[in-house]
């Protein structure tokens, strides 16, 4: 006898606990999608308002006749079927279609624009001259949370720190949510494959990641990682220099289930 549940349980593979980066990426994708949706909805409402404002003008003024004067809606005169369709008062259905078409177009444009903004935040240089963002010694008070850097990039602010992550962003970043990581610097424990020395392990157009081994494991993690926006324009050495300046306290927590 073979129990189907057992077969499926085994074929489904081992239960993989998500590491901090998986979770952070899931959150980042969700935040981006929500932002796109809100931007799209705002654009859609604007388009609908514009369409609604245009309709009374078209209906009230009528369409220009061949002689240049307006033809009153429903007025006399021979008209082709299409002319009739175009010149008469718009039905509720036609108005709805016009508004919907405007809304779809506006939403598409808004989504594309929001995606561009997100990409720009992540990949465009933080400085106008494209130079690397300088790093200076941080001598301020201890930060909240479990991650304590002794160096800090210039013109940045700490958006929030706790046992799970430290989030640093440009001082003028409009996204003030410390759990939104796109285009920022985030420090957290790492579940990646162990490394002997600090190094850049991943790099794409959205982010670069430096992993640093811990001297003693913390909450099951043997390393921590710094995910940062390519816009900082740091070399590997600069990124490693910043990452290596961070002290991870034993209170740090790995975002595991």
């Amino acid at each position: 006898m073979t129990e189907l549940h057992d077969l499926l349980e085994r074929a489904a593979g081992p239960h993989v606990t998500p590491d901090a980066r998986d979770i952070a990426n899931d959150v980042a994708r969700g935040v981006r999608a929500l932002r796109r949706r809100r931007t799209g909805a705002a654009g859609g409402m604007l388009a609908a308002a514009v369409a609604a404002a245009a309709i009374p003008v078209a209906v009230g003024g009528g369409w220009p006749s061949a002689s240049g004067g307006p033809v009153a809606p429903g007025g006399s005169g021979a008209k082709s079927p299409s002319a009739v369709a175009n010149s008469g008062p718009l039905t509720a259905e036609q108005k709805k279609k016009q508004a919907a078409a405007g809304q779809v177009a506006a939403e598409d444009a808004a989504k594309a624009a929001a995606e561009k903004v997100a990409l720009a935040a992540a990949s465009h240089s933080w400085r106008a001259d494209g130079a690397p963002v300088p790093i200076h010694t941080y001598a301020g008070p201890a930060l909240a949370g479990s991650y304590q850097p002794s160096l800090m990039p210039e013109e940045t602010v700490v958006q929030g720190g706790n046992a799970y992550r430290l989030t640093i962003a440009r001082a003028d970043d409009r996204d003030k949510n410390p759990d939104s990581f796109v285009g920022k610097i985030v420090v957290m424990l790492s579940g990646r494959a162990p490394v002997d020395t600090p190094r850049v392990v991943e790099s794409d157009s959205f982010s670069r990641i430096v992993v640093v081994p811990l001297s003693v494991p913390i909450d099951g993690a043997t390393m921590f990682e710094v995910q940062y926006a390519p816009g900082l324009a740091w070399t590997d050495d600069e990124a490693i220099k910043f990452a290596s300046s961070i002290e991870v306290l034993p209170t740090a927590k790995s975002a595991k289930g």
């Binding site: 239960h15 979770i23 959150v27 994708r29 969700g30 999608a33």
Partner: protein, 174 residues
């Protein structure tokens, strides 16, 4: 501060349930790990957007499951999936030979799942991996309970034909 609250709750849910979603997706995709990861990411992204509504209603688990299944079925409707695709490794199973009922290999189970139509595969995964009853399965698939029963019957017949007649199903039968 609604956003941090949403994010913190979502983070907790992902930490607790992502692994289960991934295993479900692995069976839905018949072992395509890359597609499974894509589906889970899609489901979680949509879940985050809908979080306030979801957390007030049925809870994130059933909603994420429903999105995952819908994303999978949508994916199977894409034209490119109907064509052959390159894979990293050759399958190590015989395509037509019945497998031993004593110890069917995981690849054999995944192979038989791959032969099922998407909805039948989803029914099998929901009922016999996740142990959902007919009612919950019908909600997840957005279809009638009668459809769930008939899809289950067809799928089980195929599984028994390929994996052995002594296949038992003690779960998911209510």
């Amino acid at each position: 501060m609604r956003e941090p609250g949403r994010t913190a709750a979502f983070r907790d849910y992902v930490a607790a349930d992502r692994g289960r979603l991934l295993r479900t997706a692995r069976l839905l995709t018949a072992g395509d790990d890359h597609l499974a990861e894509d589906l889970v990411q899609t489901a979680l992204t949509r879940l985050y957007v809908a979080w306030p509504r979801v957390s007030r209603a049925e809870g994130p688990g059933p909603y994420a499951r429903k999105i995952l299944v819908n994303a999978f079925i949508d994916e199977t409707r894409r034209p490119w999936r109907r064509r052959e695709r390159a894979t990293a490794a050759l399958p190590d199973r015989a395509a037509a030979e019945p497998v031993s009922i004593d110890l069917p290999a995981d690849s054999a189970v995944l192979g038989v799942l791959a032969e099922l139509p998407p909805r039948q595969r989803a029914v099998i995964v929901l009922r016999y991996l996740l142990d959902l009853d007919v009612q919950a399965t019908s909600r997840a698939l957005d279809c009638s309970e009668g459809t769930v029963k008939s899809q289950t019957s067809h799928a089980l017949a195929k599984l028994r034909e390929r994996l052995g007649a002594q296949l038992t199903t003690t779960g998911g039968m209510s």
